[in-house]
């Protein structure tokens, strides 16, 4: 790991796990000793070359990294502006960026002697990645998934079962990702001795936001090398979609101190970011609060009760966002915008027929913004978008939205 200069955008979090006012450790006393243990273990692993050697080996031979940086020639022609590159993390084993982080956490769990792995999942991508790596290492895997999501993501539930994981449908609350996370925390509080909680995004109590970011940063590090090789210079802008924000943090983090690089995060605008609150755009439509172990921007009502949010993409359908994004938003280093369900669907279809790539609905939100932005930029502007997942899992949702019966 590189050492961070003081006053750097990449120096956080502080010793209390804070990025400015965001982050922290808002958990019950039962969990405090566990997250302190995890932090100590991660600090050791972070500077242990054998840990990273193991990660590099698995990333290369199991995941298939580095993922290509692809010049999207036809999209570039279509937009008629910036030169658009796609970081192809959808080509990873299991079809998304999620596995980058899962490998790191499972290797940590092994170092800590934990035999039982729990995870939460929304769309099922983090659940599938966790089930995959647990199978690879012979660990017990239990995935909590909202009952509503179990119903709308059946193929991923079956995938997890094939991989030997046990999927527990969560009926508390409204049966979506946030309830799955509550239930995973309840399980962890109950099974403190043998269980490791593998969180899928850059949220949760410290050290999760920093740790998941570090594991996902492989994305941005590779982009830096690849773009230097292709173009001989850094990109002018970066674009990524944001639910919890792990793929975005992974792309953005290595570039935070390159101040000439414009960085844009795209939240899920659902039916539109307005006071109907039918969206999942925590930064553009929420305010700071405390949930799931950290302070961050949340969708909430006037009484501080958490709202459900909505997105066509189950992976973005979360009322919070990683605390580091909240901080980057407030200090103005990263711009946050949103794209609606409709815009994402249009971008999804355009990507299929223009590049021969079926994107997941999550990065389709990023592409929807690229479609707005790229035409306004000059042809020597280098834009890199993170294609963080493939769309096989989404074909049923898209068919339904298009009124097709498959």
């Amino acid at each position: 790991m590189t050492s961070h200069a003081p006053n750097s955008y990449s120096a956080g979090p502080d010793a209390q796990g804070r990025f400015g006012q965001f982050g922290g450790r808002f958990v019950s006393e039962t969990l405090m000793p566990l997250i302190l243990d995890l932090e100590a273990e991660y600090e050791k692993a972070k500077t242990d070359p054998t840990f990273w050697a193991q990660m590099d080996d698995l990333w290369k031979h199991y995941v298939g990294r580095p993922s290509p940086l692809y010049f999207a020639e036809r999209l570039t022609e279509k937009f008629g502006g910036a030169k658009v590159y796609l970081k192809r993390d959808e080509l990873n084993h299991t079809g998304a960026h999620k596995i980058n982080n899962v490998l790191g956490q499972i290797l940590l769990a092994r170092r800590m002697g934990k035999k039982r792995i729990i995870a939460e999942t929304g769309a099922g991508q983090h659940g599938v990645a966790t089930a995959t790596v647990c199978a690879r290492f012979g660990l017990e895997c239990i995935v909590f998934m909202g009952a509503t999501d179990v119903e709308r993501q059946k193929p991923n539930v079956f995938r997890m079962n094939l991989l030997g994981a046990k999927v527990i449908p969560v009926t508390s609350g409204r049966g979506t990702l946030k309830d799955a996370m509550n239930e995973a925390l309840r399980d962890w509080v109950t099974n403190v001795d043998d269980t490791f909680y593998c969180i899928g995004t850059v949220a949760g109590p410290h050290p999760y936001p920093a740790m998941v970011r570090d594991f996902q940063s492989i994305i941005g590090k590779e982009v830096k090398e690849q773009i230097m090789e292709r173009e001989g210079r850094l990109p002018d802008s970066l674009v990524a979609c944001i639910g919890g924000g792990s793929n975005a943090m992974g792309l953005f983090f290595p570039f935070l101190d390159d101040e000439d690089v414009r960085i844009i995060g795209v939240e899920a605008g659902g039916h539109g970011v307005d006071d109907r609150m039918e969206h999942a755009a925590s930064l553009t439509g929420g305010r700071p609060g405390v949930l799931h172990g950290n302070r961050t921007y949340l969708l909430q009502d006037d009484d501080g009760q958490i709202l459900e949010g909505h997105s066509i993409s189950a992976g973005l359908d979360y009322p919070g966002i990683g605390p580091e994004h909240s901080w980057l938003n407030d200090i103005g280093r990263v711009e946050y915008v949103s794209a609606t369900d409709r815009e994402a669907l249009d971008a999804f279809q355009m990507c299929c027929v223009t590049e021969g790539i079926i994107p997941a609905l999550e990065p389709s939100h990023a592409l929807a913004h690229v479609a707005k932005l790229a035409p306004t930029l000059p042809s020597d502007h280098l834009l890199v978008m993170n294609m963080c997942g493939r769309g096989d899992k989404d074909i049923f949702t898209v068919a339904e939205a298009l009124g097709e019966n498959i």
């Binding site: 019950s28 039962t30 405090m32 508390s172 109950t190 009484d303 501080g304």
Partner: protein, 262 residues
């Protein structure tokens, strides 16, 4: 001295164990929970815990999760919870009230405003599940300055090394969580909890109450032998859930209190 401190001083003199009961504000309706609340002291409750409903109660089992949902659906808010305390105080100025819940609704309202209104309404202490000692500057220290007790949870994972940190800014009493788990789950035995209580008592002069998983008068009686106070929540809330009348709920509370008082 808060009403909590006064109450424990009285109980110590009488050599009695405290019986602490939990109800969720607004469950199943604001009217019903206010009726039960008013009857708790006469049923033998020494200290009342009132739950502040929250959408995402990550340390609670199904009984209290559902209680919170019922309350929110019935229109309960943090302000209405404080109004319920204020109303109770018009008829009872001695029974201590502890507000229990999660941080976000308080943070959303504003810490200073909440503390001022909670004191004014007549609350005596706070138990906020998702604020460990590491986050003391958020609410614990301001609460103590505002004259409210901040009651901390100690758990089976709180080892001897960590215990002083947990006890440091705790006041009123220490709430020992008898199991690793959520509220209303498996019952711990008095035999296993006793040494843990003694371990905590050795490091503090504060009373130590025990809770999580105590469901019957018999269990309350057993736990009362090893602790300074016994807390029952889910078992009472389950009576509300099944549609018992306020009188029926209070009769059950009286049995639990009799168990705890021996």
């Amino acid at each position: 001295m808060t009403r909590i401190d006064t109450k424990f001083a009285e109980l110590a003199k009488a050599e009695r164990t405290a019986f602490v009961s939990f109800i969720m504000a607004g469950d199943p309706s604001p009217q019903m929970s206010a009726d039960v609340l008013r009857g708790l002291p006469a049923a033998g409750v020494d200290i009342i815990e009132i739950g502040m409903p929250f959408t995402d109660p990550m340390a609670d089992g199904p009984a209290i999760q559902l209680a919170g949902q019922r309350a929110l659906e019935a229109g309960m808010t943090l302000d209405k919870t404080l109004a319920m305390v204020r109303e109770f105080r018009t008829g009872d100025n001695t029974t201590p009230i502890v507000l229990m819940g999660y941080y976000n609704p308080i943070f959303s309202k504003g810490v200073d405003l909440f503390l001022a209104e909670a004191s004014e309404a007549g609350a005596d202490g706070l138990i906020i599940v998702d604020l460990p000692p590491e986050e003391d500057s958020e609410l614990c220290l301001p609460a103590q300055e505002a004259g409210l007790n901040f009651i901390r949870l100690a758990t089976p994972t709180t080892d001897d090394k960590r215990l002083p940190k947990v006890l440091q800014n705790t006041s009123g009493f220490v709430y020992y969580v008898s199991i690793t788990g959520i509220t209303g789950s498996a019952e711990a035995s008095a035999a296993s909890v006793g040494p843990e209580i003694a371990r905590i008592q050795a490091q503090t002069d504060l009373p130590v109450c025990v809770g999580f998983g105590i469901k019957t008068p018999e269990a309350a009686a057993e736990m009362a032998k090893v602790a300074d106070g016994v807390v029952v929540g889910s078992a009472i809330v389950e009576r509300m859930a099944r549609g018992d009348s306020a009188e029926q709920v209070l009769a059950f509370v009286a049995e639990l209190a009799a168990g705890a008082h021996g």
